[in-house]
Subunit: 263 residues, 2 copies
């Protein structure tokens, strides 16, 4: 995993648009609010260790995938800095489990990672790129790769690329690739390890942003670019939005769709 | 919209599993934390007015659909009760705009509503049903229905049922139904009004839960029940999870799919 030196603490990612500097917000166990109320926004991010975060996420998965990614980051910051991190109701993030309340929509590990970016980034515009990095990594990487020193279950867990950010698709593809059922210990262990992977990845992304870097590497695949050239913002049709992998739902072109030239 | 009397404040939804009672957490503008640190969890919910919340959400949409649903609820509670609501960094919820960072996945208005349920419900198990109510209402209702007294844009906005909780699908269906493009003022006005609708709906759901009621009414459609009878937990195949409307992505059955008996 990418290393960021220890000296690189409190860089531009957390502070550029911030109104709350840690030294003025923290006073032992007693918290104080600003004149305007609340803690200010965005909250500063302090460099964390991806491996240590992944390990904590692996066990935090007990409260679901969104909690598993979100809580270990905020809790480590609380251990290092106290407030305001200590007052964040991290337990609320249980709502993202199973693609949000079990609905199978956005993978909770990604929702948790995106929520962290939201907490530290400051403006919607500054959130898009790091969220895109996280989501593309998830779509395109064969997961899970994390191995625990003390695994909850030592079942051999096959890796699959989800080609989608959606829990339903991600789980279905893994079931197809592994032969395991969608409920039961092997699938839970898969999602537990994947939660650890996502937590490590989001810390890599946040650390890189501290020093003004982008991990980049991942980009939209060629099929998606082709679809977007006609269907998204500024194109001829402009009749959709989003960056999700098209083929994970559009399994084939509609019968009346014009032929797409080979690239 | 459903009415819950003013006397019904701080019911079981917010307090049954809670460790933080408002009277012990609030002391004017000065906040104090519990012995364990933080504010406790879940946070208590106090009855709000759906119409007033919808109106605030309509304008709060300026910072995106997730923020637009989440912030007006927490800000109203902050106005009524002060802390801990006042310290919640509501601006982080900008991350959910455009289906999370513009990815087109889960509609941000729903992510914001689900996050509120997360804040007030206490356990993952207690979050599922109200999230399901919100999501099914969104999938099955022709939206938007909200009309502002002082609209940002007074364009006539057609209503469509999204049949999906996904931003990408919801926007695409609305574009198909309305003839408007996916970016531009009409689509923004549609999502602004839809954000107001979702904010009103989540307050209805939260108010009903205060008195131990479920709005219910909405349930999985018959097609989804048929699919789930073979593909989800406890079924023969058990190779998927989720409750999303299947037909919004699975436009037709795979060629080798067994014939489904007519119901």
């Amino acid at each position: 995993m990418k290393s960021v030196t220890r000296r690189r603490v409190l860089g531009s990612f957390g502070l550029a648009a911030g109104t709350c500097v840690l030294s003025s917000c923290q006073s032992g166990n007693q918290v104080s609010s600003s004149d305007k109320g609340g803690w200010g926004y965005p909250w500063p991010y302090v460099e964390l260790d991806p491996e240590a975060t992944a390990e904590r996420a692996y066990y935090a998965y007990e409260k679901g995938c969104m909690y598993g990614v979100f809580a270990p980051v905020v809790k480590q910051l609380a251990e290092k800095r106290g407030e305001p991190y200590r007052s964040f109701p991290v337990n609320m993030m249980q709502y993202g489990a199973g693609g949000t309340g079990g609905s199978g929509s956005l993978c909770g590990a990604l929702n948790g990672g995106a929520a962290l970016i939201g907490l530290f980034a400051g403006t919607e515009e500054r959130m898009k790129k790091p969220i895109g990095e996280l989501f593309l990594w998830y779509e395109q990487t064969e997961l899970p790769v994390y191995t625990a020193r003390k695994p909850v279950s030592d079942i051999d867990i096959p890796k699959t690329a989800s080609h989608s950010v959606l829990c339903h698709v991600s789980v279905s593809r893994w079931c197809a690739g592994s032969g395991y059922k969608s409920f039961g210990d092997p699938r839970k262990e898969r999602c537990r390890r994947l939660t650890a992977d996502a937590a490590g990845k989001i810390v890599e992304i946040l650390n890189a942003r501290l020093v003004g870097e982008s991990l980049s590497g991942a980009e939209l695949n060629e099929d998606v670019k082709t679809c977007k050239s006609c269907h998204t913002k500024g194109s001829i049709l402009s009749n959709s939005r989003g960056t999700m992998n098209c083929g994970s739902c559009h399994f084939s072109l509609a019968k009346d769709h014009p032929k797409i030239p080979a690239t």
